[in-house]
Symmetry: C2
């Protein structure tokens, strides 16, 4: 039985309501967080509140790879130390972090912003696929690594991108299926991720196999 | 194995650091929350950030009962509908909400701000006990209900307050021991809390029993 808490303060009510809009935070947890903040120095709540506001106001998306960035071009795309001939296509910003944490990749990224999923109403036009094709057409990219989750949505998106890039002078590879089928990138350990990068295979070789 | 995430943005780094200072929020959860906020409309982060800052800045403590309040005197103490002759002594602000939710109490509260706990360095001088004695000495209070957790710290605090109030013309009661011994008020269901209020007993009657 969940009862609505009766708050003695509208400010507390508002803070609890706002906190409980976060994913995985119910009203009970939100109340606990709010009361915790009330017990701390005022500077703690101030710093938290400001960091949340600045985060949303200050963060842009890299116009090359669509990763989050504070500049027009993100530090990875701007770095002269990265290999501009290789582009790793990932679903989201978190996946970029996961691959960066493997320490095994020196190329660039392309963040799709999701996967094709007709059930959720996400078509190819809602993803950064056209900009990927444009990027490849500019000629500097020699290899596109498809690094999407080994799910139905990931496979669908892989195939869609493959069709779009087919015929362009670029090698299309995908992660070695060291990633367990059915699992999401986000929950895969970094050793497996690193190995799946090293063993990436030609996308067309995967047709007609088991 | 926990690895430090490598962030492409200092703003994201800062938001994750601040969010992970909340109780029960690790860096992984903090990152998830931050990325969630990035996916929402800017107004969502704005509202959350502002509510947190305003919460800490705007909330005062009632100068009568020490409950949180936006005014000098909280709505409960200020209400003409409440019975000013009964004062329920509770550990913290959350316990006030729990008792309010039982719908069985029309008196006032007194929030101690903690329990006596020598192990944690909390002596009676750090709690709102002197102000409770002052309140009783003013004469309007006819009954003090001790509504602290049924733990060693709660029992110690109950007894300390009883000694301080002994001799004053006030009835001192405690919650019926319907509250399971060893449990905290915060985790007790509201039906049990309501019953324990109705069946409260004279504090001195508990000596030499059990």
């Amino acid at each position: 039985m969940v009862t609505e808490q009766q708050f003695s303060s509208l400010l507390l009510e508002e803070a609890v309501t706002q906190l409980s809009r976060l994913p995985g935070v119910g009203r009970k947890t939100a109340l606990r967080l709010a009361l915790h903040l009330l017990r701390q120095e005022p500077s703690v709540a101030q710093a938290l509140g400001n960091s949340i506001i600045k985060l949303r106001e200050g963060i842009k998306y890299c116009k090359v790879c669509h990763n989050i960035s504070e500049e027009d071009v993100c530090p990875i795309c701007a770095s002269p130390l990265r290999d501009g001939s290789t582009v790793c296509v990932v679903e989201n910003v978190k996946d970029v972090m996961s691959f960066e944490n493997t320490g095994q990749y020196r190329g660039l990224y392309h963040v799709l912003g999701g996967l094709i999923s007709p059930v959720d109403g996400i078509g190819p036009d809602k993803l950064q696929i056209d900009s990927l094709v444009e990027r490849v057409k500019q000629g500097a990219v020699k290899e596109v690594i498809l690094a999407l989750s080994a799910t139905m949505e990931g496979d669908t998106t892989n195939f869609y991108i493959y069709r779009k890039l087919e015929g362009l002078p670029v090698k299309i590879t995908q992660l070695a299926r060291g990633v367990s089928v059915g699992n999401e990138i986000e929950y895969t350990d970094e050793i497996t991720l690193g190995r799946s990068l090293v063993n990436r295979t030609l996308f067309k070789d995967s047709f007609g196999k088991g």
